[in-house]
Symmetry: C2
Subunit: 96 residues, 2 copies
Amino acid sequence: MYVLVTYDVETMTSNGQRRLRQVARQCLNYGQRVQNSVFECSVSPAQFTELRLKLSDIIDHKKDSIRFYFLGNNYSKRVEYIGVVTSYNVEDELII
Amino acid sequence: MYVLVTYDVETMTSNGQRRLRQVARQCLNYGQRVQNSVFECSVSPAQFTELRLKLSDIIDHKKDSIRFYFLGNNYSKRVEYIGVVTSYNVEDELII
């Protein structure tokens, strides 16, 4: 199944920036980055549960936000885009 | 139908920041902001076409990226979230 992961992680502190990198790195283990804080993941239900648990352990639940959107199996019919298509390297300098 | 709008707009220049505010303002006309650059819109096909045209006119197609995800009508079953749930005021100071 396809799951879209979008997140807002507070980046005002070094802790927040560390959490941001960890969230991105975890998402990369399960899918591809399509925008700065948007990942598209093709996962089984078990893998999704695993990813969600890991992300839940990383974030500060009072400051950060992660949303999961279930796109079903018919992914290609569910997405359109305009503008540039970029892929990000999570090891790069943090773009704030 | 529910459409998720996610975007990455270059904010290194004042032009980019202006485009970012305009994109956010347009999305607010059609839906609600759920994360910094993520909007959930409940629109008719005609309204979606209108929104897409307006956003296409605003962005720099070589620098900015906008993605549309079609969540169908059964929205509530398609989304989960962890962490904080925030709503943003597009008139506020730009959070970079």
